[in-house]
């Protein structure tokens, strides 16, 4: 049975996107989780929206040049910047905000649909080290 994926709205409360909408399809539960987390972010820090990148294609198929990001259950997030600009950063850059990123991780892990987060800041509890994850959080959902 084909997986029915839902598109993340290109604009919404508490987030901005840095991938085209064609690459932002998720399972209904994954999109719902994202919107929950982003609403919460908006209530807590309205001037610091979450950057959301690739999720999946509408057909849930192969998404080069990713290995994963099939089935609508993987999402890439940008870590937060101290200056709150909608720009990339990484854990070695002086613009990187560990404290804001830690809050995002805590909110994600508190959500029942979040299975695992790959990210390389060893000072943030609950994330898993994985090569290539200095500049984004790779979040896997359960359903």
């Amino acid at each position: 049975m084909a997986i029915q994926l839902t598109m993340l709205p290109p604009a919404g409360v508490g987030y901005y996107t840095f991938s085209p909408s064609s690459r932002q399809y998720g399972t209904p539960h994954t999109i719902s989780m994202l919107l929950d987390i982003c609403r919460q972010q908006h209530w807590n820090m309205s001037d610091a929206p979450i950057g959301i990148g690739d999720i999946s294609f509408q057909d849930a198929g192969n998404m080069p040049p990713h290995h994963a990001h099939r089935h609508g259950r993987n999402i890439d997030f940008r870590p937060f910047r101290k200056d709150r600009h909608k720009l990339p950063t990484n854990i070695h850059d002086k613009s990187y905000s560990r404290e804001m990123t830690r809050l995002l991780v805590e909110n994600l892990l508190a959500h029942r649909n979040v299975h695992r987060i790959l990210f390389n800041d060893k000072h943030i509890r609950g994330v898993h080290f994985f090569p290539g994850h200095d500049n984004h959080l790779h979040v896997e959902t359960r359903i």
Partner: protein
């Protein structure tokens, strides 16, 4: 005894000094001293363009940025161009003109399974199309661009479930009177997870 050794050493030094300054020496004239360096660069968004960029309607990429690796980790912030330029800079380090200096560029791809970088092997060396030879005045430097289609290579390998894990370029520059120089560099190609 000691005096004889000192005087013979002095004679040898004097002879060597004469040889260095002697006019009309029969030694070969110095060849053109050619130096060559190479880098990769590409067109990408500037930081000002990236800030709040609309991924559904992105602006044109118009800023040249150097890249040391192709990487798909942040679709906007980290360059992963379809085409990279190999920029070859040739410098004439000699005090005379160098005519018809022509760089020869070979590239090689390290190809392997999408999930098996360790199994990747270097493919055949491919010669890139030659460019018009350059004239370099004394101490002058010029740069030449050689575009390399990375996306095309990925498409070619995708059908075989392979990935181009690295790109290697070897550059030889040669002046007609025999001056030569060479360099090589590599561009790791890192997929997303």
């Amino acid at each position: 005894m000691l005096g004889n050794r000192a005087s013979s050493t002095a004679c040898l030094l004097a002879a060597a000094a004469l040889a260095l300054v002697a006019p009309g020496s029969e030694a070969e004239p110095p060849k053109n001293a050619i130096a060559v360096t190479a880098t990769f660069d590409c067109l990408w968004w500037s930081e000002a363009q990236m800030d709040g960029l609309d991924p559904n309607n992105p602006p044109p990429k118009e800023t040249r940025v150097p890249i040391k690796r192709w990487e798909y980790s942040d679709p906007v912030g980290v360059p992963h161009p379809n085409v990279v330029d190999l920029v070859v800079r040739i410098k004439n380090d000699s005090p005379k003109d160098a005519e018809d200096v022509s760089p020869v560029v070979y590239i090689q791809w390290s190809e392997g399974p999408v999930r098996g970088k360790q199994s990747a092997v270097w493919g055949q060396a491919l010669k890139l199309p030659s460019q018009t030879p350059v004239h370099l005045a004394a101490l002058e430097a010029k740069s030449l661009r050689f575009p390399i289609d990375i996306a095309g290579k990925m498409s070619e390998l995708d059908a075989k479930h392979q990935w181009p894990w690295s790109l290697r370029a070897v550059v030889d520059a040669r002046a007609p009177d025999g001056g030569t120089a060479s360099t090589r560099l590599e561009l790791p190609i890192i997929p997303g997870d």
